[in-house]
Symmetry: C2
Subunit: 346 residues, 2 copies
């Protein structure tokens, strides 16, 4: 489309810094005739401390009017664990039915990996985003007493599993290797696991060109470090996807490069793009944060909105920039943003 009406949630810690660079590159890459409008939403730890609010209804409503959301990072040690995650970040993912949590993992040349031998890593995790142990179901009884019982309920529906599995098959089909791996733990979590596997196999009948594979989540972590090149597309549940994508980020040069999209493929609600990393309060405000993950998230955002060539330009710019990065020179957040803005503009 010829205009983008973007909501921006910088959030906490390094969120503001990295989002500024994301917007800088976005402005630089867009053709003159695409009108970019942005509106910033003040949500996160500061807002919560000031007003006690995490995501008021009025703002949730207002966010619905945007084409997409760019988010920096949410969370601060001064806020009890879960308040902002459940009240803001997950609330957005659930309210906007972001059932495809897309997380590409690629080891770019010339970037540091903890793995010896620099395997050829290029896969994408399709993490379910609206079900599983993330629903908030469960509770606690006799809280705080020695007789307390606390439960967490993982809720999985055929409806929810089928749509994300189908999305993953489509992505696998569109890639050269056409391989899809289901990761679950169906030898222990038999109820959910069997349903996932059954649906995975059934939908697979419609995709004869896609090679399939199944791994238990524990075994998958082994292959992430010993044979990551075996993966092409992975589809998995919300919690397993959370764990696996942090590990994937670690083996592909670190959390400073890992992008993600919380996508509603139907377009019923705006999709939201954010780096996988957190708010990193220890380095906030010092210009030390690497904005690349946010900038790569902007590429996913552009692709989602149909601006494929601009998305590809950002990804190529990042690859070129990384290839020329000199391990001995550290650049500031701003300098990296500037360098990428220059590259995408030319």
């Amino acid at each position: 489309s010829r205009s983008i009406n973007l909501a921006v949630i910088p959030g906490d810690g390094i969120g503001q810094e990295v989002v500024s660079q994301g917007l800088k590159v976005l402005r630089a890459v867009l053709p003159q005739d695409v009108k970019l409008e942005t509106k910033e939403y003040d949500l996160g730890a500061r807002r919560w401390h000031r007003t006690g609010e995490t995501l008021p209804d009025a703002e949730l409503e207002a966010l619905k009017g945007h084409d997409a959301i760019l988010l920096g990072a949410i969370g601060d040690p001064s806020v009890p664990a879960g308040v902002l995650e459940r009240g803001l970040l997950l609330k957005l993912r659930f309210a906007f039915d972001h059932y495809v949590n897309l997380r590409p993992s690629k080891l770019f040349p010339n970037t540091a990996t903890p793995l010896a031998g620099r395997p050829d890593i290029d896969f994408v995790v399709v993490r379910e985003g609206t079900e599983g142990p993330y629903t908030g179901n469960g509770g606690s009884l006799r809280t705080g007493t020695p007789a307390e019982v606390a439960t967490e309920v993982s809720v999985n529906t055929a409806y929810g599993v089928e749509r994300v599995v189908r999305d993953a098959y489509e992505r696998a089909k569109a890639r050269p290797r056409k391989k899809l791996t289901l990761v679950h733990k169906n030898n222990v979590l038999v109820h959910a696991g069997h349903m996932w596997k059954k649906i995975f196999d059934k939908v697979g009948e419609e995709y004869p060109e896609v090679t399939t594979d199944y791994l238990h989540v524990d075994a998958a972590t082994i292959f992430f470090v010993t044979q990551p090149e075996r993966f092409d597309v992975i589809v998995t549940d919300n919690l397993f996807g959370d764990i696996l994508t942090d590990l994937a980020a670690a083996v592909t040069g670190g959390i400073g490069l890992a992008a993600s999209g919380n996508i509603n493929p139907t377009g019923a609600f705006p999709s939201m793009f954010e780096p996988v990393h957190g708010s990193a309060p220890d380095i906030a405000g010092q210009g030390k944060a690497d904005p690349t993950a946010t900038i790569l998230s902007v590429a996913l955002l552009l692709r989602h909105l149909g601006h494929e060539s601009e998305a590809a330009r950002i990804e190529e710019a990042v690859a070129a920039d990384l290839a020329e990065r000199d391990a001995a020179t550290t650049r500031t957040t701003d300098e990296i943003g500037d360098a990428l803005a220059v590259r995408v503009a030319s």
Copy 2:
């Protein structure tokens, strides 16, 4: 004690082969005056195919009479996922209240690790073994229809969490670095996560000499590959422990070396010792399996039964054997067992 009445469950795939070597080394290390009695139980895939049974009551009763159980591996692709895991392996862990699932991780010199730079890894994971998402709670509604709902319930009790957390503090206190890390996901799984954290902090007041730390499970996987030397003792829930210990095995030379104990510290029921690896049907019967993980599990078994010096002898023998292993020569399962038996005897 001056006699050991051991139950042996070889199980499936490579289970038989590795257990034979475990027993060989056990016999070699025990002083003359310790009487070893063993009784083999035919449980696993073959038994299930033959009789449809996984763990009959009579055998469960009989197993109670032993001092400890040595288990090889359970599981075969010919058996539907979950049947043997839930019906046999987990049934034993639950029936015998194995609430401490102990999994040491050590990178021995001269062993392969996928990590560049060979970090100094020496930690132990205390995985809760009788609660969490492993309870089998949950179910499925409208099974097999497009309207299916499948749930998995993670059940956590203050009783269950406190006893395993306390065990972990004791272990941390007994180690030189005295550091204990709780791994959970208390920003999302707020009910269980907050209870774990509260109990972890409260019990910690009794252990002022132990340094504590908390990590979300996703972040923990990052540190496993980028900074594994930061860990000393980790305490975590059943599922997170399952995932983390496979990853830990991968970074410390592979699943062929990872030992584990399913321990009931009260002694009310026999504890069970098994390698972390599975039944590996692809290499079964070929003499290719590395029995070291089982042999190290025998060391844990001996330590649990009070034979500390014999346990240490096995661990030293393994370290010495690994130090001299020549990457160019492959030894059979039997040869490795023989070499270790000779070392511990001398």
